[in-house]
């Protein structure tokens, strides 16, 4: 298959999945929770795989500390999403719901065998491919993950020392 035809296949599949996957995901949820974002197991599994790739070497190497940092970052991503308009929260929920679906993960993200088992190289390649994708929808999804995860990391005062940022004047922040 030529690269061009491969792109087209992703494009058609992507459009269908984005239309159908998001809606199916939404309808599978109880009515009362259709708007406000919920960091459920599916979203958490996607984030747990994407956060280490997005953040790279700033995460600690030691296993337990690394897991705790990823978990805490996911929590701050959730908090950031909860500050967005409800319609945007729904879009973000749909994005994670879509990525959690097996076919989308395999076809669009090219990650085989579940997010929990995805290796870093696969996830890097997924982010790189969406970042430069010819389909705006996938570039938007990449940008959303970029801004949410990276913003969540650097919003935490515990990360400031490592980048040489002294933080605001202590006397005024009590």
């Amino acid at each position: 298959m030529t690269p061009r035809r491969s792109f087209l296949k992703i494009g058609v599949a992507g459009a269908l999945l984005l239309a159908a996957g998001g809606a199916a995901y939404r309808w599978s949820r109880p009515a009362a929770t259709r708007n406000k974002f919920i960091l459920d197991d599916e979203a958490l599994a996607v984030l747990a795989a994407v956060i280490p790739s997005m953040l790279g070497p700033v995460l600690p190497d030691e296993v337990a500390a690394r897991a705790a940092a990823v978990q805490a970052t996911a929590g701050r991503v959730r908090d950031a999403i909860l500050g967005l308009p409800l319609a945007t929260q729904k879009e973000v929920q749909d994005l994670f719901g879509l990525l959690a679906l097996g076919p989308a993960r395999r076809l669009l993200a090219r990650v085989a065998g579940g997010w929990a088992r995805a290796d870093a190289k696969q996830v890097d390649a997924f982010l790189q491919s969406w970042r430069s994708n010819r389909f705006a929808t996938l570039r938007i999804a990449y940008m959303a993950m970029h801004d949410l995860i990276i913003g969540a990391w650097y919003s935490d005062p515990a990360t400031w020392e490592a980048i040489g940022y002294p933080g605001p004047l202590k006397e005024l922040t009590a």
Binding site: D79, S132, A136, H146, D147, S155, W160, I163, L169
Partner: protein, 539 residues
Amino acid sequence: MSVIPDPIQAGLAAGWRVTDGARLTADSALEADVVIVGSGAGGGVTAEILALSGLRVIFVEEGALKSSKDFKMREADAYPALYQESAARKTRDKGINILQGRTVGGSTTVNWTSSFRTPDITLAYWNQHYGLKDYTPQALAPWFELMEQRLNITDWPAPPNENNDLLRRGAAKLDIPTALIRRNVNGCWNLGYCGMGCPTNAKQSMLITTIPSALRNGATLLTRVRAEHLVINGDKVTQLDCVALDDAGLAPTGRRVTLRAQHYVLAGGAINTPALLLRSTAPDPRGLLGKRTFLHPTVISAGLFEQRVDGYAGAPQTVYSDHFLHADRIDGPIGYKLEAPPLHPVLLSTTMAGFGAQHAAMMKQFPHVHALLALLRDGFHAGAPGGSVALAADGAPVLDYPIGDFIWDGARRALLTMAEIQFAAGAKSVTPVHEQGQAYTTWAQAKAGINGLPFKLLATRVVSAHVMGGCAMSDDERLGVTGADGRYHGLANVSVHDGSLFPTAIGANPQLSIYAIVARLASGLARDLTGKPAARPIA
């Protein structure tokens, strides 16, 4: 207990009439002489002048009332609390990120204090193309003087911080003239956190100037209340229907607020004002409402320096260059204004492209990063006709802003200019903020690299902090939906008093243009409504 006196808390304790919509337990109906929607640059100035002139004023703000006791200079708290959509408001295709305030004081509570009079060439264009004969530098001068005095807009005495001085030094090496930015501050500590709400009440935003003055003079302020719909009967608005919002400001609580007045002033900014009029199906026989919305589309260049730049510290914007606004005719190839933005960890890290090791390496150099902005002057050429505001299914505004080759040509030239200035100032490397941009180490490399970049949305980072237009002024109803006096054509008791009046972009940070033009419009409105000359606000 903070060491900084908080004038808002003191005013509330003294009995100002302020109602938090999130706390309403029943529906409410109120009456006044004038209802004002929005409490930013336009709403704040209008509220003070009308209240001082003896009119009973109610003003409605969608955001919450926050004050210096809340302003802790932390991005994680400030963006959700003080900005539209947590500072992540976007155009329809998500290609442009828009910074707009959403709190009492509107964008003036979070802006970077840059104060410019409307450029003469912009006014001349309005005169020629929109028939705005009274909008001359001479006719507006007294209104600029009034608001400069009211908000203490003066030359900034401290030296620029390194982030701004690098613009001055780099430009000087290339014989590009720069000048210093005037600021609306009084007793400024030179901290650099204007964008998160001034923690020392030095910034002369609406929050601590005109709004307290209006409240002392009997005005009523409703917060966390969203204006939904003007009820129109013939050529008159008979009431404004509003909904109360929850603590997070996201969902209606179910409580409704109905406001009735002799006159309605819309000042919700250039996205929300056209949206309110569209939801209300205001007369728009020529389809001009919400059209020609301008953003000063802005591109960014990051430089890395040997020395510390500390872009988070000190007055955020003090140096600018208008050289590339005057390189050609105003209606020629798009011109751009050069400024420096403050650099804080979330703002910088989310703006910079890339991820993983590459992004981490850049952030590790955070104190050595320098950034420049180029604000492209849209609205003066058929290739930069602006965007348009429409309504989503839930009634929320959506701004569509396509960018064509004419604007991309300007973006490319601006990135080249900024890289050249940064190298002239001594940068070790320069990175245009673009998904395919690299850290170029020489000007020649940067020139070739930038010229080779594909210019398109969601690849080139484009941002905006200046939303203008959508309710253009012109006494010729074929050209604008409002008159030169700010009155909405076809509605006898509605005025627009915000940046949506501008028939083009300003070509400079717009706050002082809004203050001065609205001061004149509000004074005219007060005179019309009271039959007496308007009161003159004094600091």
